[in-house]
């Protein structure tokens, strides 16, 4: 590896950061989890309608759009970093992969679990994995099967961390040598289902607003998934810097590079999106005075800001520039997915949907579980790159 400069200082092993588990933050998060559990009890006893506002005009609410479609997007850090490190052979990013992977493990596992909350007939979920029920033409089948498989793959990819914690260095080494199969899968499966999350909308045809409905949906979704993956790594690194009082100066150049990757992918995304809108003759929609058009432009602004922020400027205030840019990128991607599935979904039968408070609180609870688990794991397991503490 002569052509890739690697700083020796960040080639250190991963470390558990330790510290107390009970803090104001974790108590607050547990409270949110408790509230969510109460509403989940209602959901399972009285049905979906008792807690959510979803209806037959909007059968998919935030439990699908946030907990699965957006949450797995957020959990693309592992995928995006694996692609960068193992496939594109950017070894310099290797130290960051484990934290990204940990976030992915929780993101996807909880995404998968919250699917069970949302499924009306959850006790039949195993049909997704039973060949006699397979409907290969269904995008949903592909998404469900892929995500389920990927969750397993993610845990396998994460397993060395556990082995390292156990201290069984020999087994860990041996395990890591055969890990390439799962890394291959770990890049393939998200590419498949993250693009398919976009394909889900294609069968909905005219019901999805023309600013979002396009044959390019799979590619657009894949691009945002990648960007979300890198943005989340930047986001988490900066959060960890403040939250765990870690010195991340040595990671900064890498985060800057990730930012550049986000900016270029995002730029391609924007070019493709606008070219497609022009190609389909839907430019008139860009100037209409309705909610959809407004949301489209908000998305565009949220995407444009990180392109500028990641591409230009460097030097002193790097983190305070990277962080808002990553946050803006994530907000844009969140909005893109919410818009595509909810705002752009035009119900012809005059239905309305806005999530109910209990519905949102359940989603917050799921997020809280995710954050809690992440905090516990980074404190107990060797996940974050080893560093000196300030």
């Amino acid at each position: 590896m002569t052509d890739i400069p690697i700083r020796p200082s960040i080639r250190r092993r991963h470390e558990a950061i330790g510290g107390k588990l009970v803090s104001r933050l974790t108590i607050a998060l547990s409270l949110l989890v408790g509230i969510a559990l109460f509403f989940l009890y209602q959901r399972f006893v009285y049905g979906l309608g008792a807690v959510t506002n979803i209806n037959n005009g909007y059968p998919w609410g935030i439990w699908v759009v946030w907990d699965v479609i957006i949450a797995t997007g957020f959990a693309c850090g592992g995928y995006a970093m694996a692609l960068l490190v193992y496939i594109l052979n950017r070894g310099e990013f290797h130290p960051m992969i484990r934290s990204a992977l940990t976030a992915s493990v929780f993101g996807y596992s909880l995404g998968g679990l919250s699917v069970l909350i949302d499924l009306g007939r959850y006790w039949n979920f195993w049909h997704i994995l039973s060949p006699s029920y397979f409907n290969p033409g269904s995008v949903m089948f592909e998404v469900a099967a892929c995500i389920t498989l990927y969750i397993v793959v993610l845990w396998i990819e994460w397993f060395p961390t556990f082995l390292e914690w156990l201290g069984t260095r020999g087994i860990q080494k041996a395990f890591e040598r055969m890990l390439f199969v799962f890394i291959g899968l770990g890049v393939l499966l998200p590419s498949m289902h993250q693009s398919s999350l976009g394909s889900l909308l294609i069968a909905m045809g005219y019901q999805v607003h023309p600013l979002w409905q396009t044959p390019f949906l799979p590619i657009l979704f894949l691009m945002t998934a990648l960007c979300m993956g890198y943005a989340v790594v930047i986001f988490e690194a900066t959060l960890a810097a403040v939250g765990f009082a870690r010195d991340v100066r040595e990671e900064l150049p890498l985060l800057e590079k990730l930012g550049k990757v986000v900016a270029s992918v995002l730029l391609m995304f924007m070019v493709l999106r606008f070219a497609d809108i022009i190609d389909r003759g839907q430019t008139g929609r860009l100037t209409e005075g309705n909610l959809q058009t407004a949301m489209f432009w908000i998305e565009t602004v949220l995407f444009a800001f990180p392109i500028a922020a990641f591409s230009f400027g460097s030097g002193q205030s790097r983190m305070s520039r990277l962080f808002p840019a990553a946050a803006s990128m994530l907000a844009g991607a969140v909005l893109y997915r919410i818009d595509a599935f909810l705002v752009a979904y035009n119900s012809p039968t005059h239905w309305h949907y806005f999530p109910s408070a209990p519905e949102i609180l359940v989603t917050l609870g799921v997020i809280a579980i995710e954050v809690l688990a992440y905090i516990v794991f980074v404190k107990k397991f060797p996940i974050l790159p080893g560093h000196e503490y300030r």
Binding site: N53, V242, S320, F323, H350, Y353, F354, P355, I360
Partner: protein, 378 residues
């Protein structure tokens, strides 16, 4: 001027009815016409008048069913009452007299009460071949009617036959039967169609004439609005079944036995204007009308329906605006923006933006300190 005590005493003597029963009758008649309660006094006043108006009652092509049903009206001593309220100067069914005697009586009454008497016509008038298909005393129906109509204060066409031709005019209509209005070419004729017509509609009209000296308001076909402005369907006792989609499919089937709507058996209620579903027939209690008995309405009072359209044929729903309770094509459903949801979302978004801003600030501060730290190290 209210009916005096003396009048009531007289009535009790004359008709053998109590004062209470009499006032109930008057109020009932007023109610049939849709008049206010206070009109009952006027009605009583008119009925107790000593001078009773002359009535000439002609029969043409008909079955006398209207007269018969009139006679069977069962309110207390009604036929006595009506026969004593008016001076019936000519009625072929009820008169003991016959032949030239009765014709003379008619002519005399026409002459004596010229311009004041009430002409009631029962039966259709044949027009074909000079109207030779119905003659009384050597005169055709048309001649008789013309003669009687000339001096009449008002003309009432009783029953479907007199109103629009009725059963005799059923295609192919061999005698060229028409109703009175068409035969005379007049529009001011009150018609009370029905086969038979409902006696209370007739009585109400007569009493209206006696009370106010004119006929009640009429529709374009000369029918009194108080009785014929609504479809039978609108007040049908089985309407709830129609709205709920419960139908008898055949005579005697489960739906028929359960009293479901008779539309599919050919009920003409939805295209027939009459008050049968409210006033009913024969005074034998509830449901005493065809639909109540389980037979579909045949639309006997409606020109072009009764005796024309097959009984089993489906009715067209006339003037039938969709009921308010029907689902519109664009019913608004679901819960849109709700305060609790919006509050939580704005709370979360606000917290996220706030935390983001704070973090950015903190990061700037951190960078500042790290930078100074670097400087120190250097």
């Amino acid at each position: 001027m209210p009916a005096s005590q003396q009048n009531f005493d007289e009535i009790e003597q004359r008709y053998g009815v109590s004062r209470r029963e009499f006032m109930a009758f008057c109020t009932g008649i007023a109610a049939t016409m849709g008049l206010a309660n206070s009109a009952a006094a006027q009605v009583a006043e008119a009925i107790t008048k000593k001078e009773r108006p002359s009535v000439i009652w002609l029969h043409h092509q008909e079955c006398t069913g209207c007269t018969e049903s009139m006679l069977r009206a069962e309110h207390p001593t009604l036929e006595k009452l009506i026969l004593d309220v008016i001076s019936l100067d000519y009625h072929e069914t009820l008169f003991a007299a016959a032949g030239h005697q009765i014709e003379a009586a008619r002519k005399a009454a026409q002459e004596k009460n010229k311009g004041k008497y009430l002409l009631v016509v029962e039966g259709a008038i044949p027009m074909k071949d000079g109207g030779i298909y119905c003659k009384i005393g050597g005169q055709t129906s048309l001649e008789l009617t013309r003669e009687a109509a000339a001096g009449a204060a008002a003309i009432i066409a009783l029953g479907s036959c007199a109103s629009w031709g009725g059963m005799p005019s059923t295609p192919p209509n061999p005698t060229g039967s028409v109703g009175v209005a068409e035969a005379l070419g007049r529009k001011d004729i009150l018609s009370i169609p029905g086969c038979p017509s409902n006696p209370y509609n007739f009585l109400a009209c007569v009493v209206h004439f006696l009370t106010f000296g004119k006929l009640p308001p009429l529709d374009s076909q000369g029918r009194p609005l108080f009785a014929y402005s609504r479809l039978i369907h609108e007040n049908c006792e089985r309407r709830a079944h129609f709205d709920a989609g419960r139908f008898a499919l055949e005579f005697g089937d489960e739906g028929h036995r359960k009293g479901y709507c008779l539309y599919k058996l050919g009920c003409k209620g939805p295209e027939t204007y009459a008050n049968c579903s409210i006033v009913q027939f024969g005074d034998v209690g509830m449901q005493s009308w065809p639909v109540g008995m389980g037979h579909p309405c045949i639309g006997c009072s409606e020109k072009g329906i009764g005796f024309t359209k097959p009984i089993h044929a489906l009715a067209d729903l006339k003037n039938q605006r969709p009921p308010v309770g029907y689902a519109r094509v664009n019913e608004e459903q679901g819960t849109g923006l709700n305060s609790a949801g919006v509050a939580v979302v704005s709370g979360v978004v606000g917290a996220a933006v706030g935390a983001g801003a704070m973090l950015t600030k903190k990061l700037s501060a951190l960078e500042g300190s790290q930078k100074s730290g670097e400087n120190r190290q250097e």
